[in-house]
């Protein structure tokens, strides 16, 4: 019990969002570690309080059609390979692999294309400043900076419409004020 899983892993575990193997090891650790079990319980409680987020604005019918077409395309490609090399018996697997690859590529293509047509998606690429219980987070695309409150201290947060958020907390008798601002 010398080292504990990180909070991120525990959060994934609490949300049933980690892989099978990770889940096995985390489950084994959490069953033996009261401290991590408490953290997992907190994450589960928070998760229970939150509403499910809205589904992304995706044309599911179109996505389904594209995926079906790509599966057919992949299978047909597999058939071609089978005809070209008739003596190999595992070509159907290759076809399935090609089909899966085609699905992944087309899904990735669709997901990448979607923001272009969705005006609101442009906003996610802009820097967004947000106050959270842990601190102040500045997100810009896939990158982010979070100034955190030390030892999870509860902070008073103030927001300026000029584009900045401050979080103030007491640590060892001294006041610390974190500030993040949009440029």
């Amino acid at each position: 019990m010398a080292s504990h899983p990180s909070e991120i892993d525990l959060a994934l575990f609490a949300g049933d969002d980690c892989g099978m193997v990770s889940r096995y090891f985390l489950n084994r650790h959490v069953r033996r570690c009261a401290q991590c079990a408490a953290v997992v319980a907190q994450f589960e409680a928070v998760r229970a309080e939150m509403d499910m987020p809205p589904l992304p604005d995706v044309d599911w019918d179109r996505l389904e059609l594209e995926m079906r077409a790509n599966i057919h395309l992949g299978l047909e490609a597999g058939e071609c390979v089978r005809m070209a090399v008739p003596r190999r018996t595992r070509d159907a697997r290759l076809a399935v692999a090609f089909a899966s690859l085609a699905i992944v590529v087309s899904a990735g293509f669709l997901m990448k294309r979607a923001p272009v047509n969705d005006p609101s998606a442009h906003k996610t690429a802009e820097p967004v400043l947000e106050s959270t219980g842990a601190g102040i987070e500045l997100r810009n695309g896939a990158s982010s900076l979070t100034l955190m409150n030390r030892h999870g201290a509860v902070a008073d947060q103030t927001v300026s419409a000029e584009g900045q958020i401050r979080a103030r907390y007491i640590d060892n008798g001294s006041v610390t004020i974190n500030n993040v601002s949009l440029e």
């Binding site: 892989g19 099978m20 090891f25 906003k123 990158s143 030390r150 927001v159 000029e162 610390t176 949009l182």
Partner: protein, 388 residues
């Protein structure tokens, strides 16, 4: 056939197993302070950098992202000849946070010449793994140092002089108030005031806010009834500036582009005004949502003249993960800076003038004094008040 397939599949499965379990076990390493953080000091800095502790800082990979958890403590020494009352450090992490900047401030301190003090910096940085790193991950610079005579040192890139001057002015106001309470009502009176302050802090409820520039905030709900909401204003006794009228575009839990017209009623030119901004939800609960500041570069408001505060931002309000729909807004003047650098903050009596102002958070100094009372007792609090 099965055995042949298993033999071929085994390395693949083992690799997959390693990839799946890697995020939990391994791929974490402690950070080398020398290469991760750079502290830049001006040659004439009144603070000398003594040491840096990286605590349990570590780097790890999560999926396609690199995550850096930095828990630093920087120790400084007052190398000048004046007492230091506030310090602001500028934190630059351009690779991780393009479009923004951070700072860490320590107000309400009293550091004598040659005395050492420590400042905490806790940052989490996330970026795609593919993005190449060049140079140190974090750069720390002194943005400003405020002294006991209100003189200032530093590049002031973040307007930290103004912020620290306001904090120190509020601190002097609150220390004077509590000293007066002690003299007028004795230890019992001071204890009652501290209990009142702690109760107020405990009742203080705040909103989570997401803020973006130029347009709608991410995740906002947009009902059909988008409208312009007028501010109601509280007039603060003694305020040198009067808010005349103002409004903001409201749609659900989002307020956009607030606009407030102000009048300088004082005899001196004003270069900065901040309006406290309270919002009311559908259930009638009031929250201090934030503030609407006037730009320091664009504004120099002569006596008797009007000006407009026009921040171009969108604010989305929520509480415990649920949107807070805005039903009403109230504003009041919370800070004024004159052109000569002197500042005005509401008096303690003015803050008691309206029940609405009770939702304001206590000042940093009041919070610090209440913490001393809660952790060390009344004698320690009286000793602290007598230090100033």
């Amino acid at each position: 056939m099965f055995l042949w397939n298993s033999a071929r599949l085994a390395p693949v499965l083992l690799t997959a197993l390693a990839m799946v379990s890697a995020p939990v076990f391994g791929q974490e390493k402690t950070l080398d302070p020398a290469s991760s953080v750079k502290v830049d000091l001006q040659p004439d800095s009144p603070l000398a950098w003594i040491s840096m502790s990286m605590g349990d800082s570590r780097a790890s990979t999560r999926g396609g992202a690199m995550v850096l958890d930095l828990h630093m403590s920087l120790t400084w020494r007052n190398a000048g000849f004046r007492r230091v009352r506030g310090v602001t450090l500028l934190i630059s992490t351009q690779e991780f946070a393009p479009g923004g900047k951070g700072s860490v401030s320590r107000p309400c301190i009293d550091i004598a010449p040659s005395q050492e003090f420590t400042m905490p910096i806790d940052i989490r940085l996330v970026r795609p793994i593919q993005q190449a790193a060049a140079g140190p991950l974090v750069r720390v610079q002194i943005d400003g140092v405020l002294f006991d005579d209100f003189s200032f040192f530093g590049p002031n890139k973040l307007n930290s002089q103004r912020a620290m001057t306001f904090w120190e002015t509020e601190a002097q106001r609150d220390r004077a108030y509590f000293k007066h309470v002690l003299q007028a009502s004795g230890e019992r009176g001071l204890r009652d005031e501290m209990l009142l302050s702690m109760a107020k802090a405990a009742e203080h409820s705040q909103l989570d806010v997401a803020l973006s520039r130029n347009g709608r905030s991410v995740g906002s709900i947009v009902p059909q009834g988008e409208h312009v909401e007028q501010f109601a204003f509280l007039q603060i006794p003694g305020s040198p500036v009067e808010p005349v009228h103002g409004w903001a575009e409201i749609s659900g839990n989002e307020a956009r582009s607030p606009e407030i017209e102000i009048l300088n009623r004082s005899s001196k030119p004003v270069r900065y005004v901040e309006i406290g901004w309270m919002v009311k939800d559908k259930e009638g609960h009031e929250y201090l949502a934030g503030s609407v500041p006037g730009s320091s570069t664009a504004m120099l408001l002569p006596p008797g003249q009007k000006s407009r505060l026009l921040p171009d931002t969108s604010l989305r309000f929520s509480r415990t993960g649920r949107p807070v729909e805005i039903q009403g807004m109230t504003g009041f003047v919370s800070q004024v800076e004159y052109a000569d650098g002197k500042v005005w903050v509401p008096s303690r009596d003015a803050l008691k003038s309206s029940p609405l102002l009770r939702i304001m958070a206590p000042s940093p100094e009041e919070q610090r004094l209440a913490d001393i009372y809660a952790n060390k007792g009344l004698a320690a609090l009286i000793a602290e008040l007598n230090r100033f």
